[in-house]
């Protein structure tokens, strides 16, 4: 081959490698960007007066006087709409039957669309469901709902062999010649008067309970559930993992048995997560009966089993990396074996062990499959500590799945889904960041 070709090949070879790394980073970026941007939208968004009303009524949050003034001002802006509709209703009731029949359906639809946008009309019966008690709390959703008020979707199916075409029919045209026609342009122009949008930081998203199956409110029960599950898993996995690692590094002699133990542990690491879920159900709940039903305890045990190999491996590695001179020095000073481990080896291996623990914490927090059958429910209150022994809990990971696929109005709660993903991913990334920092410090100390 010519030298030139060889050079080209060499360059492309290096280029491919760089490209692979760039692609990998790009994948990470593409994955994280929507999660962070739209997830942030769950906490930081343009909120309407309905949001502030909700906060005031449910949590007594915000400046009562100011919010009440806002509510009054919004009501004043809405008043012409409801008055016009009421007048038109009256007019129809006394008018001829043909008119009434003509406007019955459009009027009903309009009222429903209005209720979606602004909440129940003044003087109407208070709805039972919270989602019907308030108008749109978020400005972005409000604009979508406004479009529904202004236009109705109609599909043109005139050619049955082709897909229908979406036509947006102006509702104003439906009511042409009536006083209601004027309302539409009024609403379009004055939507900000009707809803008073304002930039809102809803940090309580993290600490509020959810209302009406996540239509409103925050994700505290999920967050707390994940924290319980993770801490529970760590509480069980750390002592076991540490003891096993100490045995494997300090006590065990190379033997068949040891090899078998090692193989078992690495096989445990390779067991698919859903199988852990099945095992947790079959063993902890159905056989051991640690709790009657799904519970945080059973979930923690299952998760602990799952992360055990990671904890063992990380601790083993950390213990092995302790310079052997430390141990020899301690032993030669007459310290016992256990004394040496406890006072010399463990302290110097601690940062490494911690790194492993923190990383497996991230794994425990993020896993879904093992807790499906053992701990997770879609709706529940935040638990008190003692309740974790017997009660199931919502959890971030499970509720992402639940809200993204099982919820009755997936689109309406999209911001909550993104919020959940953001919180879960941030939690895991923070844990990993801690691990990276820890490791950097070890490296520094080693160099020093």
């Amino acid at each position: 081959m010519r030298l030139q070709t060889r050079k080209i090949l060499d360059r492309t070879f290096a280029g491919t490698g760089v490209l692979a790394i760039v692609l990998m980073s790009a994948a990470l970026l593409i994955l994280l960007t929507p999660i962070f941007i739209r997830g942030a939208g769950a906490l930081f968004f343009t909120g309407t007066v309905e949001h502030r009303r909700l906060m005031l009524e449910k949590f007594d949050r915000g400046n009562r006087k100011q919010v009440e003034a806002e509510i009054r001002s919004a009501q004043a802006a809405r008043e012409p709409i409801y008055r016009t509709i009421a007048v038109f209703d009256q007019q129809l009731a006394h008018g001829d039957a043909k008119e009434r029949a003509k406007y019955k359906k459009p009027l009903k639809e309009l009222k429903k669309a209005l209720q979606d946008l602004l909440g129940p009309a003044p003087g109407s019966v208070r709805p039972m469901l919270m989602r019907d008690q308030y108008g749109q709390t978020r400005w972005d959703r409000a604009q979508i709902k406004l479009a529904r008020v202004l236009y109705r979707e109609e599909w043109d199916y005139s050619n049955p062999t082709k897909s229908g075409v979406l036509l947006l029919k102006s509702r104003a045209a439906d009511f042409a010649g009536t006083p209601i026609q004027e309302l539409f342009s009024y609403m379009e122009k004055n939507l900000d008067q009707l809803l008073l949008p304002r930039r809102t930081l809803y940090w309580q998203f993290l600490t509020d309970e959810s209302f009406d199956s996540h239509f409103f409110g925050g994700i505290w029960p999920e967050l707390l559930g994940t924290i319980y599950l993770t801490l529970g898993a760590m509480l069980l996995a750390i002592p076991m993992g540490l003891i096993a690692a100490i045995y494997l590094t300090e006590y065990a002699r190379e033997s068949r048995l040891l090899n078998l133990l090692r193989t078992c542990i690495s096989t445990l690491a390779g067991v698919p997560s859903i199988v852990f879920g099945l095992f947790g159900l079959a063993f902890f709940i159905n056989t051991l009966k640690v709790s009657n039903s799904k519970s945080v305890l059973a979930g923690s045990m299952t998760l602990a089993l799952m992360i055990l190999p990671t904890v063992i491996r990380a601790s083993e590695e950390a213990l092995r990396s302790v310079p052997r001179t430390y141990k020899e020095a301690a032993l030669s000073l007459g310290a016992g074996r256990w004394h040496t481990i406890w006072n010399v080896i463990l302290p110097s291996a601690l940062p490494g062990i911690l790194t492993g623990i923190v990383i497996s914490m991230g794994r425990a927090a993020g896993e879904t499959a093992p807790i499906i059958f053992t701990a997770a429910v879609s709706v529940g209150k935040p638990l008190a500590l003692w309740q974790t022994l017997s009660q199931p809990t919502p959890a971030l990971s499970w509720n992402i799945y639940n809200l993204a696929t099982e919820h009755e109005a997936v689109d309406e709660v999209r911001h909550v889904q993104y919020g959940l993903v953001l919180v879960l991913v941030s939690l895991v990334l923070l844990l990993n960041l801690a691990a990276i920092i820890l490791r950097a410090r070890i490296a520094k100390r080693m160099r020093a």
Partner: protein
């Protein structure tokens, strides 16, 4: 290291401290034995967990053989677990799991090995320090977040403009590859010719092959570009995401393997005048081959055991795509079947439906055990060979 310690312990044993009385020494020895036993017990407990899992899963899988027999399970694609005459053909799930795993490997291995080579041999240390956290973060992101992305972002994207994206992808991947191949082929074919004719023949070959490659690419690009993807929840979607999820494993394990290859090999190759690419491809990669194989095996394990992504975004159709390599059709995997069907199945009603899910879990377990053993064997063999 252990030998040194041992001798020291032996020394301690031979020369007991003078202060201790006979009974104190015995007490101490008993305490040591008890402590040792305790540690061994705890360690065995964590190791036994895996045997426990095997036992419990196998125990609940076993009755299926009695109730239904195995033949149908492994050979039929008819999956009607709730019908009056229930049928439990799981072949489609095996194929589904295999297909998405194959797809994931096709994504993860080329990218992963290239990235590993780049990390271990091309990039300077400082850049490596930046790239490492990227890999770690990719590994750390929870699977449900990947699944959410696959369902909410990738699936609609594939459904709306999957065809054009594939069309463009063909060009992006194919064009450079084809160009490179053409240059190499032209070069090799004209190696023996005389200088004068060589250039001419080379240009001729490049021109001919170039036109051919262009036509092929244009054809493939157009065919794919016009594709209407009926549903974005399909094997392709899941393969891409699983591939990204398996990447960190593949990269880090193969990087370790590459690092383990002695410097001397590389230096020898450079000394013979080989370029870096030639050194890596002809010397380093073969030497690290079994390590990379282990990386691939671990990647396979990661992909085949994944639940949430496939459950959320694979479409869950219990069918073998036709033709089998049609990645644009929805598939159903073993893991997703377990997660989705466990709701109905229960041991209290003693149905074959409960046991069939455990049988699937058992198959997954056995598979991951085999993978694990083979990867361990491969790594051990490498260690022996390289003498490390």
């Amino acid at each position: 290291m252990t030998e040194n310690v041992k001798t020291m312990n032996e020394m301690r044993r031979d020369m007991p401290p003078l202060l201790l009385s006979h009974s104190a020494r015995r007490r101490q020895r008993i305490a040591a034995a008890v402590g040792n036993g305790f540690l061994l017990a705890v360690t065995s407990l964590s190791a036994l967990a895996v045997l426990f899992i095997f036992y419990f899963i196998a125990r609940d899988a076993w009755p299926f053989f009695r109730l239904e027999g195995v033949r149908e399970f492994f050979t039929s694609v008819r999956w009607y677990p709730s019908a009056d005459h229930a049928e439990f053909g799981a072949l489609a799930m095996f194929v589904g799991s295999g297909l998405v795993t194959l797809g994931a490997i096709l994504v993860a291995v080329p990218l992963g090995v290239a990235a590993a080579v780049c990390l271990s041999d091309v990039l300077p240390f400082s850049v490596r320090q930046v790239v490492k956290p990227v890999i770690e973060i990719l590994a750390a992101i929870p699977s449900v977040a990947y699944g959410f992305f696959a369902l909410v972002v990738l699936a609609p994207l594939l459904q709306e403009s999957g065809g054009p994206i594939l069309g463009v992808a063909v060009w992006i991947v194919g064009a450079p590859l084809a160009a490179l191949a053409i240059v190499v082929v032209a070069d090799l074919a004209t190696d023996r010719l005389r200088d004068r004719t060589r250039t001419r023949v080379r240009w001729l070959i490049v021109g001919l092959l170039g036109v051919g490659a262009f036509a092929a690419l244009a054809f493939a690009g157009k065919a794919l570009g016009g594709l209407q993807i009926a549903s974005g929840a399909n094997a392709l979607n899941v393969s891409i995401i699983l591939g990204i999820m398996a990447l960190p494993t593949v990269v880090s394990v193969s990087e370790d393997a590459l690092q383990a290859v002695e410097r001397g090999l590389r230096e020898g190759s450079y000394a013979l005048g080989a370029t870096r690419a030639e050194t890596l491809v002809k010397t380093v990669l073969p030497a690290a081959g079994s390590g990379i194989l282990a990386a691939v095996i671990l990647g396979v394990m990661r992909a085949i055991g994944e639940t949430m992504v496939v459950w959320m975004a694979s479409g869950n159709a219990a069918q073998i795509p036709s033709p089998w390599y049609n990645f644009l059709e929805p598939v159903r995997t073993l893991t997703a079947t377990i997660a989705g069907d466990m709701g109905e199945a229960d041991h209290v009603t003693g149905s074959a439906r409960y046991h069939v899910l455990f049988l699937m879990a058992l198959c997954l377990l056995v598979f991951s055990l085999l993978c694990n053993l083979s990867s361990e064997w491969v790594i051990r063999r490498t260690r022996k060979k390289t003498g490390g």
